[in-house]
C-alpha cells in the first residue's frame, strides 16, 4: 500500500487536516487505532468555540483560535453540524476580577476580536437570571459558540471520505520506518504503508509517534477534566457559556447549554498517568458541582443524566507544536493540541496544508495541485426532531423505517440509525450510533433503546448480536446465547 500522506489520528485535528488536504491531488490515508473517529480528546470536551481572548497574541493558541472562530458558520452549514453562536460571559465577583476582565478584553481586541463588552449589575442578570447573586461583572464575547465536538469531528471525517481520503479504523500505527532521517513508511497493525509524509495528529500519543520516527523532542502529559451533563429540563437554564475567571492552568469550571438542549458543567483539571484513564471520581464530580454552583445558583444534581471525563494533551511549553520535525524529514508534528484546539482545528488544518506544500516544493520539487472538484457539502440526513411533520410523513411513506421510533428519550427513528450505520465513516457500535444519532444519549441512557439499536446494527451489518460492541475492542455487550453458559459448564435445563 502506498500514500502521499499518512495522517495518524482521527481526532478533530487529524480529520480537519484530512478534509483540507482532500482538496488537493494527493493520495491520503488516515489511521485511527480505535473503532471510530473522535474517540480521544475530541470526544469528551466542553464543545466551546472560543472567542479567543484568553491566550496571548504571540502564541499559536491565540492566533489560530482567533483565525478559526469566524470559519465555523460556513463550515458547520456545509457539514450539517449544529452550531450556535450564543456568546460567552466571563464572570467577575470583585474589583480584582474586573481588572482581569479588562485585560482579557484588551488582549482580545489586540488580536482583532470585535463586539466584546463589560456588563454589570442589572444588565448582567437580565442576560442571565440564574447567575449566582454574588456576580457583579462579566466580559461578554458575542463570537463564542457551542458545538457538538464529536459530531463535528465525524462530519469532517465523512467529508474527507467522500473526497477520496481512506480512513482505516481499528488500525494502530506501530512503527515508523526511516532511512537517513527521512520517512519511508508506516508499520500498522494491518500492514505496511509506504509514504513520504506523515502527519502526527495522535493527540495524547503524539510523543510516542514522533518517538517512533526518532524524534524525542515532544513530551505529552495527560490532564483530566470531568463533566456532569444535565437532563434537557435544564437546557435553557443559562443562555450563554458562563466562565469563571481562569487560573493559570485552565479556563476553569464552566456552565453551558449544549447544542442539543442539555446543560453541561465542568471540567476540573488534574494530571493522570494513564493516557487511557477516562474514569470519573466522586471527589472530581463534587469539585465541578461546587464549581458550577459558584457561577449559577439552583442546580439540582438529581437531574444529571451522564458523567464523563476527557483528557487534555499538554506539553511543557504550553503552546501548540505545529511544524516539520527538526530531526526527521517528512514528519509533520501537530502535537500538544490542548484547548482551544478544537476551535483552532480549521486554522490548524490550513497551516498544515501550507507545511505540506512547502515540503513538497522543497524536497520533491512538486507542486501541490488543487483538485478540479471538491465536494464541500455533506448531504443533510433526515432528523425527526428537527423535521417538518408533513415532510416527515412523506418520508415515512417512501421509507417505513423513518416511522419506527427506536430511542424514546431523544425520539430517534430506525431510519436515522440505519443512515448512521451506512454513513461514509460507518457506525458499528452502540456508542458510535449514539454519537451520530443521539440514540441512547437521553435521560434513560440507552436502557430502553440499546437492545433495539444492537439488533439493528447486527441486522444491517450481517453480524451476530454477540459480535456487537459498546465501543469496539473487547466491549461486547452479549456474551452467549441463552443456555450457552450452561452448555459451557456441561449442563442444560429447560424448565
Amino acid at each position: 500500500m502506498e500514500a502521499d500522506v499518512v495522517i495518524i489520528g482521527g481526532g478533530v485535528v487529524g480529520t480537519a487536516i484530512a478534509r483540507e488536504l482532500s482538496k488537493y491531488e494527493l493520495k491520503i490515508i488516515l489511521l485511527e487505532k480505535e473503532e471510530d473517529v473522535a474517540m480521544g480528546s475530541s470526544k469528551a470536551n466542553s464543545g466551546i468555540i472560543h472567542a479567543g481572548y484568553n491566550a496571548d497574541a504571540g502564541t499559536l493558541r491565540g492566533k489560530l483560535n482567533v483565525r478559526a472562530n469566524p470559519l465555523f458558520d460556513k463550515l458547520c452549514s456545509e457539514l450539517k453540524v449544529p452550531f450556535k453562536r450564543i456568546g460567552s460571559l466571563l464572570i467577575g465577583f470583585n474589583e480584582d476580577d474586573l481588572k482581569v476582565l479588562k485585560e482579557k478584553k484588551e488582549n482580545g481586541e489586540k488580536m482583532g476580536i470585535t463586539g466584546m463588552k463589560i456588563v454589570s449589575g442589572e444588565d448582567l442578570f437580565k442576560l442571565e437570571p440564574n447567575l449566582n447573586e454574588k456576580a457583579r461583572f462579566a466580559l461578554f464575547a458575542p463570537s463564542a459558540g457551542i458545538i457538538s465536538s464529536y459530531e463535528f469531528t465525524i462530519a469532517l471525517a465523512d467529508s474527507a471520505v467522500i473526497n477520496g481520503v481512506k480512513i482505516y479504523l481499528d488500525t494502530e500505527l506501530i512503527d515508523i520506518e526511516t532511512e537517513n532521517r527521512r520517512v519511508l513508511g508506516v508499520k500498522t497493525s494491518r500492514g505496511f504503508i509506504k509514504t513520504g509524509i506523515i502527519i502526527n495528529a495522535a493527540g495524547l500519543f503524539s510523543d510516542n509517534i514522533a518517538g517512533m520516527a526518532g524524534d524525542n523532542s515532544i513530551e505529552i502529559k495527560a490532564y483530566k477534566g470531568e463533566y456532569h451533563l444535565f437532563d434537557k429540563k435544564w437546557g435553557d437554564y443559562v443562555n450563554h457559556i458562563i466562565f469563571p475567571v481562569p487560573d493559570r492552568k485552565s479556563k476553569g469550571i464552566l456552565v453551558t447549554p449544549t447544542v442539543h438542549g442539555n446543560l453541561l458543567i465542568g471540567p476540573n483539571f488534574y494530571a493522570v498517568d494513564d493516557k487511557d484513564d477516562l474514569g470519573v471520581s466522586s471527589a472530581g464530580l463534587e469539585e465541578i458541582y461546587q464549581g458550577a454552583g459558584k457561577l449559577v445558583s439552583g442546580l439540582d444534581r438529581r437531574d444529571v443524566i451522564a458523567s464523563y471525563a476527557g483528557l487534555r494533551a499538554k506539553t511543557e511549553g504550553d503552546d501548540f507544536i505545529i511544524g516539520h520535525s527538526d530531526l526527521v524529514k517528512g514528519l509533520i508534528n501537530v502535537a500538544g493540541i490542548q484547548s482551544p484546539g478544537f476551535t483552532a482545528s480549521p486554522a490548524i488544518a490550513e497551516m498544515v496544508v501550507d507545511l505540506v506544500r512547502e515540503y513538497l516544493a522543497r524536497e520533491k520539487k512538486q507542486e501541490l495541485r488543487k483538485k478540479d472538484y471538491f465536494q464541500s457539502e455533506l448531504a443533510q440526513r433526515p432528523v425527526f426532531t428537527e423535521a417538518d411533520l408533513d415532510e416527515w410523513d412523506e418520508l415515512i411513506k417512501k421509507d417505513a423505517a423513518y416511522g419506527e421510533i427506536i430511542c424514546r428519550c431523544e425520539k430517534i427513528s430506525k431510519g436515522e440509525i440505519r443512515d448512521a450505520i451506512h454513513g461514509p465513516v460507518p457506525a458499528r457500535s452502540l456508542d458510535a450510533v449514539k454519537r451520530r444519532t443521539r440514540a441512547g444519549a437521553g435521560r434513560c441512557q440507552g436502557a430502553f433503546c440499546a437492545p433495539r439499536v444492537l439488533k439493528i446494527i447486527a441486522e444491517e451489518l450481517g453480524l451476530k448480536p454477540t459480535e456487537i460492541t459498546k465501543k469496539g475492542g473487547n466491549s461486547r455487550i452479549l456474551l452467549t446465547e441463552t443456555k450457552g453458559l450452561l452448555l459451557q459448564k456441561g449442563e442444560y435445563h429447560d424448565d
Binding site: 458523567s307 421510533i405 424514546r408 440507552g446 437492545p451 459498546k470 452467549t480 446465547e481 441463552t482
Partner: protein, 422 residues
C-alpha cells in the same frame, strides 16, 4: 384528524385494563396507542410467576397475566395501533403520533388516559464513579436481553440495589449459569418485596449486603471488577471498608421513575414524591378529561393494583365522556405526615353517592412496625384508623376510607402513621 371518544396512551397492563373498563361502561370509539410491537408492556419480559394472586386469585407469569387482558380485548371493537409512538399531547386532547405504516397521525380525543408506565433509574441516578465500560445494565434491560432476545449479558454479576427486578434477575441469571456474587443495598433494608428476597436470593444462597454500595466500577472495554464499600446512615461511603469483587457485569436495580415526558410537555404538574401527575380519586389529572393510571402515576409493587387502579380511571373516563361526573364545589386536599412518602390520590374532587369507599395507595419512607395509620379532618378530628404490623417502603399500602365520613364542608384530610400504643 382522526376522532376517538377515548385514546389510551400505552398498551401495558394499565392501558389494557383502562380501555376494557371504559368499553364495559359503554364507550364505543376507543383507541390504544402502543409504541412497542406488541401489547402487554413490561409484563412480556417478566417470565417469572407471582402475578395475579390478588386480581385473578391464581398465580400467573407476566405474559400470562397480560394475555388474559389481550384476549378480552380481541373480542371487542377497541382499536389498537402498535409500533406507534406518541410524540405530543396537548391540553385540548390533540395527539400527535407516528408509525411506519401510516406515517404521522393527528388524533382528537374526547378523553385521554395516560398509561405510559415507568422507566428504570440508571447508574447516574445513584452516581457511581469509575469507568464506563460495556457490561453495565439496568436490571430491566438485562432482563430484556435474556428473556426476549435470548442472549446472556453477563457471567459474573454484581447487582446494585435490592429493587424487585434486581432480585428477580439475580435468580434468573443464576438459573442460566451465571455466578451472581452479591446484591448490594445502601439502605439498612431491602427495597423489594419480602417474598422476592426469600425466593430469589436466600433460596440460591446469594448474599444481600445491606448498607453497602459500589464505590467504583473498573474496566476499560468490559467491566473487570467493582470496588464495594460500606455506607453510613447518610448513604456516604465509609473509607477504609473497600473490597474488590472481580466481575464482568453490573446490574442496577435502583428504582423506577414514572415516564412523564409527555405529561411534562403538556404542562401537567408532577408530584415530586411519586414522579407522576397530581390526580384526584378518579385518577384525573389537573386537565379535565385527562386521566393517568398504572406506573406512569406512581410505581406500584404489584400489577394487580395497577389493573385495579386502571379500572378506576377507565370507568371515570367513561363517565366523563357521558358527562356523568358530579364535581364537589371545593376539592379536598389530602395531606400526609413526614414519614409517609406519598399518597394517591392527592385530592378528592367528586361526589359519588354510590361508592362506599375511597381507595388510597401509599408508601412509607422507612420500615415501620406495629403502627396505626390514621386519617383526620382539617380540625384534627380523627375519622378513621387502621392497624398494621409491618410497613416497608418496598410494599404499597392500600387503605379504604368510607365515603360517608366526608362532609360537604371538608377541606382537607390528613394521614399520619403512629406507633400503636399498647
Amino acid at each position: 384528524m382522526i376522532d376517538y371518544d377515548l385514546v389510551v396512551v400505552g398498551g401495558g397492563p394499565a392501558g389494557l385494563a383502562a380501555a376494557l373498563e371504559a368499553k364495559k361502561n359503554g364507550i364505543e370509539r376507543i383507541l390504544i396507542l402502543e409504541r412497542d410491537k406488541y401489547l402487554g408492556g413490561i409484563l412480556q419480559q417478566c417470565i417469572h410467576n407471582g402475578f395475579g394472586l390478588l386480581y385473578f386469585k391464581e398465580e400467573l407469569t407476566g405474559p400470562e397475566y397480560a394475555d388474559r387482558f389481550i384476549k378480552k380485548l380481541s373480542g371487542t371493537n377497541i382499536d389498537v395501533k402498535t409500533g406507534t409512538m406518541v410524540v405530543r399531547i396537548n391540553r385540548k386532547k390533540e395527539i400527535t403520533a407516528l408509525n411506519s405504516k401510516e406515517g404521522l397521525l393527528f388524533i382528537k380525543a374526547g378523553a385521554v388516559i395516560l398509561a405510559m408506565g415507568c422507566r428504570e433509574r440508571t447508574r447516574e441516578a445513584v452516581r457511581i464513579p469509575g469507568d464506563r465500560p460495556a457490561g453495565i445494565f439496568t436490571a430491566g434491560t438485562a432482563q430484556r436481553y435474556l428473556n426476549l432476545e435470548g442472549y446472556m449479558p453477563g457471567k459474573e454479576v454484581v447487582i446494585l440495589g435490592s429493587g424487585d427486578i434486581g432480585l428477580i434477575m439475580a435468580r434468573r441469571m443464576t438459573l442460566e449459569g451465571a455466578d451472581v456474587k452479591a446484591v448490594l443495598e445502601i439502605m439498612p433494608f431491602s427495597s423489594g418485596l419480602m417474598r422476592n428476597k426469600v425466593q430469589c436470593l436466600d433460596d440460591f444462597g446469594i448474599p444481600l449486603l445491606l448498607k453497602h454500595t459500589i464505590s467504583r466500577i473498573n474496566g476499560k472495554d468490559r467491566v473487570e471488577s467493582v470496588i464495594i464499600s460500606k455506607a453510613d446512615e447518610n448513604m456516604s461511603v465509609i473509607t477504609g471498608t473497600e473490597k474488590e469483587i472481580p466481575c464482568d457485569t453490573v446490574l442496577f436495580s435502583v428504582g423506577l421513575i414514572p415516564e412523564n415526558e409527555l405529561s411534562r410537555e403538556m404542562g401537567l404538574s408532577l408530584d415530586k414524591a411519586t414522579g407522576g401527575p397530581v390526580v384526584n380519586e378518579l385518577r384525573e389529572t389537573e386537565v379535565r378529561g385527562i386521566f393517568a393510571c398504572g406506573n406512569v402515576l406512581h410505581v406500584h409493587d404489584l400489577v394487580d393494583y395497577v389493573s385495579e387502579e386502571s379500572e378506576i380511571a377507565g370507568r371515570a373516563a367513561a363517565a366523563y365522556i357521558r358527562d356523568g361526573l358530579e364535581r364537589r364545589e371545593r376539592e379536598i386536599i389530602v395531606e400526609r405526615a413526614e414519614n409517609i412518602n406519598y399518597i394517591i390520590p392527592q385530592k378528592i374532587s367528586f361526589i359519588d353517592r354510590e361508592r362506599e369507599m375511597i381507595k388510597f395507595f401509599m408508601r412509607v419512607k422507612r420500615p415501620e412496625e406495629d403502627v396505626r395509620i390514621s386519617i383526620a379532618d382539617g380540625e384534627n378530628k380523627k375519622l378513621a384508623s387502621y392497624k398494621r404490623d409491618l410497613l416497608t417502603p418496598g410494599e404499597m399500602l392500600v387503605i379504604n376510607f368510607p365515603e360517608k365520613l366526608i362532609k360537604d364542608n371538608t377541606e382537607k384530610i390528613k394521614m399520619f402513621i403512629e406507633k400503636e400504643r399498647r
